[in-house]
Amino acid sequence: MGLTHTEKLLAAHTVSGEALAGNLIQARVDLVMCHEVTTPPAIQMLADHGLHGVFDPDRIVVTPDHFVPSKDIESAELARDLRKWVQENGIKHYYELGRHGICHALLPEQGHIIPGQTVVGGDSHSCTYGAFGVFSTGVGSTDLAAVLYTGELWFKVPESIKVTIVGQLPDGVYSKDIVLELISRLGVDGARYQALEYHGETLGQLSMEARMTITNMAIEAGAKSAVMTVDQVTHDYLKGRAKENDWVEYSADDDAQYVREITVDVSHLAPLVATPGQPSNGQTIASLKSDDLVPVDQVYIGSCTNGRIEDLRVVASIMKGRRIATGLRAIIVPATSTVWKQAHDEGLFNIFYEAGCVVSTATCGACLGGYMGVLASGEVCVSTTNRNFSGRMGHKDALVFLVSPATAAATAVSGKIADPRDYL
């Protein structure tokens, strides 16, 4: 019987047990991602249990991102505790403000993610890294503490869903639209406890950045992890960031066992909007009800889903020579310091300024209702982020619509949710 990509990745790291779907195993973890919200509790737990030190200071990557620059005293103290722990344990890969970024954009950009790894992060969107042919999943603080100390973790080996993406992506339609379509078909728990394994010719047309938008949202269908096969695009992205000798490429056997197979044909896909409440509420713009086509208060462009340079370029191409609608505010958050610098050097900030947008430093900020764009009750936000649960970006009675960067930009210009194809 053939093995899935996920089973092979876990089998290569198994310490005890057998890496077949459904089994509990103990596995080695190659890389651990830490940020300032879920890691400080882990640090405290380790200390409380008399567990000192970390398994390997070179296999831990740390960046503050959620509430930085610190929004209040409590969050400043979290960031301080994280820094202190980094210093005490000689952790080399620490990204201080100025070089920091939203974790899931930063780690791949800085070459920490390489094919064949097992990665865990103290954050649910750690599934993002699967775009590079790695097993990666998000965990809470206790799991994080355990893996920081032992370099191992228990896993239930997930069953896999085979997702095949076919067809030529039309102009004005992006990988965000593909993943919104997929999640709408799966439902928010359609892949619960399972892995999503991506196949299909369309992936070859997508950059690594576009692929990461897809793997990023696997958790929004309840998935444990997502994985794509390494190809030339992966190699080109990793050139200069990582050394080929360091990585191992796995792929699923032709006769691998999947619990389900699902094909998404993108050739007739239109830009999608996930209406408030759940990321699985995807609808075409044409099918939105008049209730949804109300004036928008805020457009938010950023996050680990869509704050990369490609995203900002698309936004700039639509905003160039235009102004955002009166009464609407647009907040643009480059996902990392490097993206910020690139956008600056390419002159995108000028376009954003002329259009009437505000640009911030890299932060999770308003994506999780932290700061820098928190919503008031009754406000309407169109956002490139990944979650639109009630209360996610601020008041529980604020409404959040999830879209691609292009749709966000078109909306900012028009004042109501708009089809980006009218602005290309």
């Binding site: 954050d123 809470g140 603080s141 032992t150 370099g151 649960f389």
Partner: protein, 168 residues
């Protein structure tokens, strides 16, 4: 264990609803507890008493990985959550904290708010004293039972600290 039910008869209750992100700048249970379930029911923390139980629908605890969701509930006195199903990170976090959760398909349709439940974890049996009904659930695997028995994953690790892998 025994307790009174607070019924949240809804699917996909997410961690943002259990504890909003704006409270994640702290992680002590007592402070988090003041805001448990606030987004759905601001009065919940006033009603909940030590030993109470939550009953909810499918995919309870979906969304972010914040373990603060467990700590907020435990801090508020909740001793167990029974749901039709759980999201996977919440499930792991519960096990790792030795916080009792029971996955019982259909439970949210059968239990009423205020019912008194008695749970026998070893037998995998819930007795509804108010309705004279019973529901069963499969016991945890021996591996997970080991984590519960130790009082959580880190206690388990601390007990085995000698076996730790250290970088060469």
């Amino acid at each position: 264990m025994q307790g009174r039910v607070h019924l949240f008869k809804r699917d996909h209750i997410n961690t943002d609803e259990i504890i909003s992100a704006r409270y994640l700048n702290v992680h002590d249970e007592a402070t988090l507890a003041e805001h448990a379930m606030e987004v759905i029911d601001p009065e919940f923390v006033k009603r909940v008493q030590a030993g109470d139980m939550l009953v909810a629908g499918e995919n309870f605890g979906c969304g972010s990985s914040r373990e603060h969701a467990i700590w907020a509930l435990r801090g508020a006195g909740v001793q167990a959550v029974l749901a039709d199903s759980f999201a996977r990170i919440f499930y792991r976090n519960a096990v790792n904290n030795a916080f009792q959760i029971m996955e019982i398909p259909g439970i949210s349709a059968q239990v009423q708010d205020g019912d008194e439940l008695e749970i026998d974890i070893e037998k995998g049996l819930v007795t509804n004293r108010s309705q004279n009904k019973t529901y069963s659930f499969p016991p945890h695997s021996p591996f997970l039972q080991g984590i519960y028995a130790a009082g959580g994953l880190l206690k388990n690790i601390a007990a085995n600290a000698g076996r730790r892998k250290v970088k060469k």
